[in-house]
């Protein structure tokens, strides 16, 4: 089975689902939903099988396959997963069926925003499945050009989902998202294409002798420092917009406010991770020198994102915007971990990507359930929900607590690793970032108090608790958050070897504590 094209199957399965759903006759909405759920579930099972077949002691890239695609440019349709990509793919395929289940009725009423959707119900689910294929592809691509293609192709389903099923300002949000992303993508395209002449130089001139976009070959290529800096910037800008990092973050809150909650889970939980994933994979490994040249500025932006994003989250009056700003803050942590350049920090950052995916998913799903009930995402439309819907409130609290990185829930471990790892290299940045943990307590608990606490207000008097379908959609996410809170090591075992490679490429000296145990054995003082 070793030659079995696992990734092609994984890639094609949701796409096949998308086509099937799209071809169903109009009006068969229930069938469309069930079909979509079936395909998504099958993909999830396949993804989990892959996770178990992955050998963390084996070669870096596994399940590899490669077919020449555009031979003139040396572009291959090359797929493969390392530990980091595997965790991202599993995150994607696990979330998609839950999102479909949670947004079962969102397509009819635009996620409770009160604006009639522009396209049919089945199209919504077809678009979600198409997006899943793009997400798997972007993480599984081991050819830089192929990565770029998926990176841009992702925009299409997202654009249509928001533009067709969003709130009142959906076209503004969709266009803003598209313009931002296209601008970033364009700059990155320049960098990607630049790799072509570089790699096709003769070996004696520092090239690879033949044009290629293969990541593994390119990462061994030496690039003249000034060129590398420009190329790094091209990639970095695209990823910083995608992540998003302050000051290029303003598209996210607008998009969050308008997008249907289910789609938001995928956009913020998975799609934005392409940004941080790209920084770790491409910015650091293709241009290690340039990345270290840019480190101080990037760390500054990361800390700025953490603090600024958190302060803005405190000030929001719209639930979806609030959660979006918390994500800006959390992405700051991820970038901090990646550019702190330490082993622990980078492993923590990747784990953070997984944990944030689940944590944000839980928050957005529950916020979605709230919005559907009240027809509004404004915080002051709620109050005293705990009395009316204790299960919803309880799960909302758990999701919120994971958002403030409470120990015992998954995000704590990753945040601790990022902070501690970064501290060994950049103390000031780590300490400033740690202030985020106080701010997180403020934005989460204040949000909880205003929506769930207090006496049950008139406006929530008819509010019902979670339905079985809603519970089934959100329970697995909460379960993962709790389990990973206590047992994160199995995931870290998959991540660590990939990060170790990155560390080797970066040529970082290992961490040395100031006081070592050598002297302590006999209790002598230095």
């Amino acid at each position: 089975m070793n030659d079995f094209p696992w990734l092609s199957v994984l890639l094609v399965l949701p796409l096949l689902g998308a086509i099937t759903v799209a071809l169903l006759p109009r009006g068969r909405d229930a069938l469309a939903k069930q079909t979509a759920l079936g395909f998504a579930a099958a993909t999830a099972v396949l993804g989990i099988v892959l996770a178990f077949r992955f050998d963390s002691g084996g070669p870096r890239f596994q399940f590899t396959q490669s077919t020449p695609w555009i031979e003139a440019f040396g572009v291959d349709f090359a797929l493969g997963l390392d530990g980091v990509a595997l965790t991202m793919v599993v995150l994607s395929v696990v979330l998609v069926p839950l999102v479909i289940l949670a947004s079962w009725r969102d397509a009819e009423r635009s996620g409770g925003t009160g604006v009639p959707p522009k396209r049919s119900v089945k199209t919504y689910f077809a678009l979600i499945l198409a997006l899943e294929t793009m997400m798997i592809g972007v993480f599984a691509a081991t050819d830089v050009f192929l990565f770029y293609v998926f990176f841009e192709a992702m925009l299409i389903p997202v654009y249509f989902i928001i533009g067709s099923y969003g709130g009142p300002q959906r076209s503004y949000a969709a266009v803003k998202f598209l313009l931002y992303s296209l601008f970033g993508g364009l700059v990155m395209l320049v960098s990607v294409l630049w790799l072509f002449p570089l790699s096709s130089r003769k070996v004696s001139e520092g090239g690879l002798g033949a044009a290629t976009f293969s990541f593994e070959e390119l990462s061994g290529m030496t690039i003249e420092p000034t060129t590398a800096k420009w190329l790094f910037l091209g990639f970095f800008l695209a990823f910083a917009i995608k992540a998003p990092l302050v000051p290029v973050h303003t598209w996210l809150p607008d998009l969050a406010q308008q997008a249907p909650p289910g789609a938001l889970v995928l956009i913020v939980g998975v799609l934005d991770k392409v940004g941080t994933y790209g920084m770790l994979r491409f910015c650091l490994e293709l241009f290690p020198g340039a990345a270290q040249w840019a480190t101080p500025v990037v760390l500054g932006l990361a800390v700025l994102s953490i603090i600024y994003g958190a302060i803005l989250a405190i000030g929001q009056v719209d639930l979806k915007r609030l959660v979006a700003y918390t994500s800006v803050s959390h992405f700051g942590f991820i970038v901090l971990g990646i550019f702190g350049m330490t082993y622990a920090g980078q492993s923590g950052a990747v784990l953070y990507m997984v944990n944030h995916g689940f944590s944000t998913a839980a928050l957005f799903l529950l916020v979605g359930f709230l919005i559907v009930r009240r027809g509004s995402a404004r915080i002051d439309a709620f109050g005293g929900v705990q009395k009316k819907a204790p299960v919803l409130a309880g799960l909302f609290l758990v999701a919120g607590l994971s958002g403030l990185s409470l120990p015992g829930l998954a995000p704590f471990v990753s945040e601790f690793m990022v902070l501690t790892g970064t501290f060994t290299q950049y103390r000031v940045a780590a300490v400033l970032a740690a202030v985020g943990i106080v701010l997180a307590a403020i934005y989460i608990l204040w949000m909880y108090q205003r929506t769930m606490g207090g006496p049950a207000t008139e406006q929530v008097s008819g509010l019902s608790d979670l339905s079985v379908r809603e519970k089934v959609a959100v329970a697995p996410v909460i379960a993962v958050i709790v389990v990973l809170g206590f047992f994160p090591q199995p995931v870290l075992n998959v991540i660590n070897p990939s990060v170790e490679t990155t560390q080797t490429v970066l040529d970082r000296p290992g961490f040395r504590p100031q006081i070592t145990g050598d002297v302590a054995e006999n209790g002598a003082r230095p």
């Binding site: 302060i311 803005l312 492993s347 501290f423 307590a441 608990l445 207090g454 006496p455 003082r525």
Partner: protein, 637 residues
């Protein structure tokens, strides 16, 4: 050494109450009928496990009582490696017995106290969660596991203080407690980062050593680093233990049901900071400066708490001020180094008994008074509630330091140890502790007189009555502890028992007739006398009189909240508003403007926003193709 035999089951200590909490929360209404019994049973079972572990520990030689229990690898990446492990030693087991013992009594009491609350099951789930988190805190084998318990306690207190969430004051108090605690946690987490950067590990064994034969890495600390770590740990301790300047949450935390106050204030949460400082002793001992700051914080808090206690008419708030003050004593002792550690812990345990008894007693009074907390509406209750009054009285004698009772032994030790520190600082610290003892006698007598003696000042609908047995039996047990625990610990060799952890120190024979002891006794009598003159001998007005400047300040918690509000909250609100404005106008505006500039004109952008984006996207792709072509051309030529 590894834990063997029964001690290998020490994980049950945490697992049992945790399982209780999980069953009660996940089981929902189905568990309503028997939920409180399950919650009490898991806590009692944990106490049983604790006793088993303790007995086995006593069977080991004096120096072999330190055992670690490795559970699983928590997380590891590169050189950052953290195990989920537990440490069983005399210090942690002392806490375990206190937490599970007093905790179980509070569970039992709550069966009666909460019997009319529709959410009693949820209350017991939170109580269980609290006990589990606190046990994890004191049993954790490294600073990260400690931190997990540390924040777990913060969560449980948040849930319990805000138990009656529909009350806006309760929800606000709960949030405040968590956020102020998080400020402290920021200090602790920074300390942990600094420790990892310094030692390359977060394990107690490696950093602190394992007693006599093995000195930990902390012994190699430079003074500067030791001071930094020490002060950061102190920030953490201040948050959890409600020491200045992070005290403000404690006085609001009374919003929770009364058993919560007993649990948080007496047996568990607030003692965590003292535990942290004593546990980290080898680090503090490398920095006299850090130790001095600890003692100053302790002394200042013990006075501030006592003063606040004098001004409160709310019985729970008066006791809350008292808690601040008593924890201040412990912090002061913990800052004195090995000379004070044993007294800090002994006072902590004694305080666990009498303060739990006092709070539960206050709850029992409220129970009989329609949940009225204003002592000006009490008076003459002793005859109506003899058991409550008597047990409360014994707790009162213990806390003011009546010779022979718990508080006398342990507080005496702290005052003497402070003076024996020597020098100006020793004299000042000792005097603070001494003055504090006098004020304690005053405000506690005030509580006693206003509540149980004097004429009746009850509300018209009040029919005071004694509480049911399920509530009074825990009171009796706690009163027993209030009387005997201090003497038993002080005379029974507790110092020697803790020796392997905190250092043997010089063992002074207990001598109550030292000059400090006599001074404390005189001050205590003066405090009681003054309170009698004001609240015993003359009628207490039912309405609060205007009061002097100091009284008003005490009523307002010495303006702690006003200070927080003007220094932190208001500027924070302004900053938030400014940031929101800046983000939507400046940042977003700049980017939009830039886009408009690139697009040609703002008019064009507006048109794009109404639906012509796809054509724009197309033009971008075309642009990209041009650049591609240009690049290729350059390459070819």
């Amino acid at each position: 050494m590894k834990a063997e035999g029964f001690q290998a089951l020490a994980w049950l200590l945490i697992a049992l109450p945790l399982a209780g909490a999980a069953i009660l929360l996940l089981g929902g209404r189905r568990t309503d009928k028997w939920g409180h019994w399950l919650g009490t049973a898991t806590s009692l079972a944990a106490f049983g496990v604790g006793v088993g572990v303790f007995v086995q520990m006593l069977g080991y030689g004096h120096e072999e009582r330190r055992r670690t229990l490795h559970l699983w690898e928590f997380f590891q990446a590169g050189s950052l490696k953290v195990d989920a492990s537990l440490l069983l030693d005399p210090l942690s087991i002392s806490f375990v017995l206190l937490i599970t013992g007093v905790g179980t009594l509070i569970h039992v009491y709550s069966i009666g106290y909460m019997s009319h609350d529709v959410d009693r099951r949820r209350f017991f789930a939170y109580l269980n969660l609290f006990v589990a988190a606190m046990l994890l805190l004191v049993l954790g084998g490294n600073y990260v596991v400690l931190f997990v318990g540390w924040e777990g306690v913060g969560l449980a207190s948040y849930l319990l203080i805000g138990f009656w969430q529909y009350k806006p004051t309760a929800a606000t108090a709960a949030k405040k407690a968590f956020i102020v605690n998080r400020v402290g946690d920021l200090g602790l987490v920074t300390a942990i980062m600094l420790m990892f950067a310094t030692f390359g590990t977060v394990g107690f064994e490696q950093i602190l050593g394992t007693g006599h034969e093995h000195v930990g890495l902390a012994s190699q600390l430079s003074t500067g680093t030791a001071t930094a770590i020490g002060l950061l740990l102190l920030v953490g301790a201040c948050g959890k233990s409600a020491q200045l300047p992070l005290q403000s949450w404690l006085l609001d935390a009374m919003e929770g049901p009364t058993p919560v106050s007993a649990l948080i204030h007496a047996a568990t949460m607030v003692t965590a900071g003292v535990y942290l400082i004593v546990r980290s002793g080898p680090i503090f001992e490398m920095s006299p400066d850090a130790q001095l700051v600890v003692t100053i914080v302790g002394a200042a808090t013990l006075l501030a708490g006592a003063i606040i206690g004098t001004g409160k008419d709310d019985i729970k708030k008066a006791l809350a001020g008292s808690t601040m003050s008593q924890i201040g004593y412990m912090t002061l002792a913990a800052g004195l180094g090995p000379a004070g550690y044993v007294f800090a812990i002994a006072h902590l345990i004694a305080h666990g008994f009498f303060k739990a008894g006092l709070f539960l007693g206050a709850g029992s009074v409220m129970h009989g008074m329609n949940d009225d907390v204003n002592m000006r509406h009490y008076g003459g209750l002793f005859k109506k509630m003899t058991i409550t009054g008597a047990t409360f009285g014994l707790g009162y004698f213990a806390i003011i330091g009546v010779p022979g009772l718990s508080g006398w032994f342990t507080k005496e030790g702290i005052i003497a140890a402070a003076y024996e520190k020597g020098g100006t600082s020793g004299a000042i610290l000792g005097s603070c502790a001494l003055i504090g003892a006098g004020i304690t006698a005053y405000y506690m007598s005030r509580v006693m007189f206003m509540t149980f003696f004097g004429e009746k000042r009850w509300a018209d609908d009040a029919h005071p009555h004694e509480s049911p047995k399920i509530m009074t039996i825990p009171l009796v047990v706690l009163a027993f502890g209030s009387v005997f625990a201090g003497g038993w610990l002080t005379l029974g060799g507790f110092g020697h028992f803790l020796g392997p952890v905190v250092g043997e120190g010089e063992h002074h024979g207990f001598n109550p007739f030292n000059p400090y002891g006599i001074a404390a006794f005189v001050l205590m009598l003066a405090g009681v006398g003054l309170a009698w003159r004001q609240y015993g001998a003359r009628p207490v007005p039912r309405e609060q009189p205007a009061g002097s400047f100091l009284t008003v300040a005490a009523r307002k918690d010495l303006y702690g909240d006003a200070l927080n509000e003007s220094l932190l909250m208001r500027p924070g609100q302004w900053l938030t508003r400014l940031a929101v404005w800046f983000d939507s106008r400046a940042v977003d505006g700049a980017v939009n403007g830039l886009a408009a500039g690139i697009g040609g004109s703002s008019g064009r952008l507006r048109r794009l926003q109404t639906g012509f984006a796809r054509s724009y996207a197309l033009s971008m792709f075309l642009g990209a193709s041009v650049i591609l072509a240009a690049l290729l051309a350059v390459n070819v030529s």
